[in-house]
Symmetry: C2
Subunit: 424 residues, 2 copies
């Protein structure tokens, strides 16, 4: 271990499983991801190491595994026998190695280390940045508060839905749907992640059809329903589309963050005057194996640095794989402080209806969430307006601490939702 040095550092925490003892793999990772390897390199002087070498801060050993989580031809070739060491480790990297550079930050904390031969499991669990380093990144311009201001919704969740079918509707058909949803008093609508600028119906046509509808309802509602328009595409297209949404009076843009990428989203953030709805499609590939990839907490911190304002966290009892505890933990992570950057608005969706409101409120402890329901709104037996009303009533009951069935006694929309979505 190097001597303590007075240099600004950021810290990455990992779960690591390896064929060599955890203390050793921690040193290998610290070396590989900074100034050198275990090999003595001609240029790796003491002065260079003091400036640039990452330090192992902590190795918290965990029980070993009999079998490797991930196969490695290297351990097999080197004749490894016996169990595989496991630990959570903390590594401190010099800020001076990276600077305010997201791709380089990722290359440092989430680069080649996933491929090391001795490593049979590696997951980035957490990141900690000094606030003056984090301040060098753009960070969210809107976050929770700015999203509320743009949506004109305070003191309760932002109730929303997704345009379905995901793809295939004409601009006019989309506008008709939006009209119905706004007529029902919806707070928020988003495009599906699958639709952006399909050749069969271009972005410009969709925007031109939808925006007048939103404005008509804004005049009536006294607030502009927030429409997260999917602007995903090339850099030039995303900026142009952002500008088109802004010019048309829209209040939100959406992008597929994993596939546009960190540099693109940070570039959009630099340019944008609207909140960025971060769609994390593909996220499953980054996280579903517990010994590989990223925890959501590390992931959301990286995207918070890049400057998204709203980020998906799945829903309770959803159609997705994720356990409810993990959904809540993710939403809490977005709302928690991180290095002086604004908290992000959690977007909870998939299989949602009024029924999840009490649990979501009880576990979040606040109403700072965008609660999106597809079938829970569009599939309500009394129609879309009753669907939206039932979602609001579900949250009113949750906040009041009243059981849904009690609260529903005098509220037909919620009563019908309970009868339809949770028949006893």
């Amino acid at each position: 271990m190097s001597q303590p040095v007075a240099r600004p550092e950021f810290i990455a925490r990992y779960f690591v499983e390896s064929s060599v003892p955890s203390e050793d793999i921690a040193q290998v990772i610290a070396g590989e991801q900074s100034s050198g390897t275990f090999l003595v390199l001609p240029g790796e002087t003491e002065a260079l190491k003091a400036r640039s070498r990452a330090r192992v801060l902590k190795v918290d050993r965990l029980p070993p595994a009999a079998e490797p989580s991930l196969a490695s031809a290297y351990t097999a070739r080197h004749g490894h026998t016996g169990s595989f060491y496991r630990a959570n480790i903390d590594i401190a990297f010099p800020v001076e190695n990276v600077g305010a550079n997201l791709p380089s930050l990722l290359a440092t904390v989430a680069g080649n280390l996933f491929e090391l031969g001795e490593v049979t499991g590696l997951r980035l669990l957490d990141l900690d940045l000094p606030s003056d380093y984090a301040a060098q990144f753009l960070g969210p311009a809107f976050g929770v508060e700015g999203t509320r201001t743009m949506a004109g919704v305070y003191g309760r969740p932002i109730i929303g839905t997704i345009i379905k079918p995901s793809i295939g509707l004409s601009a006019e058909e989309t506008a008709v749907l939006v009209d119905g949803l706004c007529g029902a008093g919806i707070d928020f609508i988003k495009d599906d992640e699958l639709i952006a600028d399909p050749p069969y119906e271009r972005f410009a046509a969709r925007l031109a059809a939808v925006m007048p509808v939103l404005h008509r309802h804004a005049d009536r509602l006294g607030r502009m329903p927030m429409y997260a328009v999917n602007i995903s595409g090339s850099i030039d297209d995303m900026l142009r589309r952002h500008d088109a949404v802004l010019a048309a009076g829209g209040t939100c843009v959406m992008a597929s963050i994993n596939w546009a990428g960190f540099a693109a989203i940070a570039h959009l953030r630099q340019h944008a005057q609207l909140p960025i709805h971060g769609h994390r499609n593909g996220w499953g590939a980054f996280t579903r194996h517990p010994a590989l990839g990223f925890s959501f907490n590390a992931y959301q911190k990286l995207w918070r640095l890049a400057g998204v304002d709203q980020l998906h966290v799945n829903g309770l009892r959803s159609k997705f794989w994720e356990p409810d505890d993990s959904v809540i933990e993710s939403a809490r992570a977005l709302l928690a402080p991180f290095a002086g950057l604004s908290p992000l608005m959690p977007v909870s969706s998939s299989g949602q209806w009024a029924g999840q409101a009490p649990d979501l409120f009880a576990q979040l402890g606040c109403t700072d969430v965008m609660h999106l329901a597809g079938g829970g709104i569009i599939g309500h037996p009394d129609g879309v307006a009753a669907g939206v009303t039932s979602m609001r009533e579900g949250w009113e009951a949750a906040v009041a601490g009243e059981p849904l069935h009690t609260y529903a006694a005098t509220r037909p929309a919620l009563r019908q939702a309970l009868a339809h979505f949770a028949p006893v």
Copy 2:
């Protein structure tokens, strides 16, 4: 299954493991990733489905698994018992759903499907695009042939190395290393992925120190040693740095493709006049679990669409986890035709020296590869020049079909490499 339709389609092939029969999960995925779900949606008309719904082309069943590869709270909540179905499936998506939009293409073939509750394993194995669709993307501007032209190296591999220590050297120290390497006749040098524009020594200073050295040797060699300068950073910085490299007479730029992202790399490609060296750091997180993420073949096709020219494939008997068969398969994938786009130059590195040349040549069947050695060049007992010479001699022997030890009899550099790196 929908009726056959005369619409242009692209095809994605997956490995999928699920709690429901493979035929069913294939339909779920086709629905979720296009016009709808199993639920009947009001707007999902027959006309819309004919235009927009993805089609299941093929379900090749595999033996089931007793335990799920990936945990799912959904299957547990729904009381799934019994084994998990496995299959390779082919799904055809309408080109009209996406257009020439990389983030949307990824959202379609690699989006929410990783998270579906019934899915306990999902990996994108392959992609097939009609060539007139692929032609709408930029694709590689240089590829194998353009890289050779820019490097001035023909008829043999491009022999290269990586500046080490990865980070911490001053601009002047880097220039001294480069001078030594060029003096030794190296073809190619790359920055480590960890160094781009660190505050302790800025990009501009590194470039200013290194470029005159390269020019001095270019005059002597009659070819400009190719230096892949790591320009990773923000969109504006990457373009500016590309322009700076170009203006200084450089011949290659490098970026951390996963963390810059698809939109950023495609934007760079649109702007660039130099080959793009694609560094895939982080790739392990996308691929190390065999039931999750991406195969390299699908991955390289996506990056070929984006327009990288050179892409890393690891090395034989490397320090990384990857089996040698997989390394060869990756290199072959880059060199194979894909939808009319130029083949990419495979970059083979990690633990390389002259000793891998015969196997690499035998299995690739050609010399179209950038063969990078760190220790194999810098650690040669007779110095860097002997290191470079030994790499070239290793390849000469491989191409001539002579055993290394025979060929080394009259060649001291190769003989010393064998004695040092493969003592008998």
